[in-house]
């Protein structure tokens, strides 16, 4: 499989292992939205370090994953965007809203901890 999905407490960590075809990107979106429900997931980390191209389709799919997860009650953080990929995304002018990013897994988990705690406070 080209994506390994691990569970850590109430978080899911999806680690992409290689360049993905469009079909595999859509599969990932589907899998994640299913898993969010099964494990009362509060947060998702998607590790994209293995992707050496993030084009309009992948960016759109990421947005869709983030928004779908949010409707299912989970926040998403993207981690590991390669430096050259970041330059390409900026030059391409890809719409990155509402992607939340972190440099590495630790930072992503810390970010989710903050986000889900704030949710709990907001929600009373």
């Amino acid at each position: 499989m080209s994506v390994a999905i691990l569970r850590q407490g109430t978080y899911l960590i999806a680690s992409i292992q290689s360049d993905l075809s469009d079909r595999e990107v859509l599969e990932l979106r589907h899998q994640l939205s299913e898993l969010v429900g099964s494990y009362s997931t509060r947060g998702i980390v998607i590790d994209v370090a293995a992707l050496d191209v993030i084009d309009s389709f992948v960016a759109r799919s990421m947005r869709s994953i983030v928004l779908t997860a949010k409707l299912r009650g989970a926040e998403t953080v993207i981690v590991g965007i390669q430096p050259d990929v970041a330059i390409a995304m900026v030059q391409f002018r890809l719409n990155l809203e509402p992607l939340r990013v972190a440099l590495d897994l630790d930072a992503a988990i810390a970010s989710l901890d903050r986000l889900t705690r704030r949710d709990a406070v907001d929600g009373g």
């Binding site: 360049d19 993905l20 075809s21 469009d22 079909r23 050496d52 191209v53 993030i54 084009d55 309009s56 389709f57 759109r60 390669q82 430096p83 050259d84 990929v85 330059i87 390409a88 030059q91 391409f92 002018r93 890809l94």
Partner: protein, 148 residues
Amino acid sequence: MEDEVRVSIDSDADLVAARAAGRAMAERLGFPRPDPTLIATAISEVARNIVVHVGSGEIVLRPFQDADRYGLVVVASDEGPGIRDIEVALRDEYSGRGGLGLGLAGARRLMDDFEIASDADTGTTVTMRKWRYRDELARLREERRRRA
């Protein structure tokens, strides 16, 4: 000099091969980072355009070299119904079928030259180039001259 590489595009899985072939050729030609990634991303967009709008076509990658420059030409062609209004298709907000206008407009920004030829009889050909001066100073002089 290196030969051209042809990748036939029939499904979304072929995009992965086209991207990899473009990156490999860019690296062999000596393009510095991040150019191989920019080229691979642009190839991905024009290849997807073929898969989504027409179904099948071909990407040809061709190296070029002259006294001052080296570069890579990407030719994406299909025998589909053609793009009705190219100006509109290249607009950022154009969404065609599945929002691919953004893809073509973005691919154009990643490359140095970008041309589309399209009509209902012969289909669509996108030709895009990225090139580098062997001498970076010559490039800067050229850029300044063009801006003046």
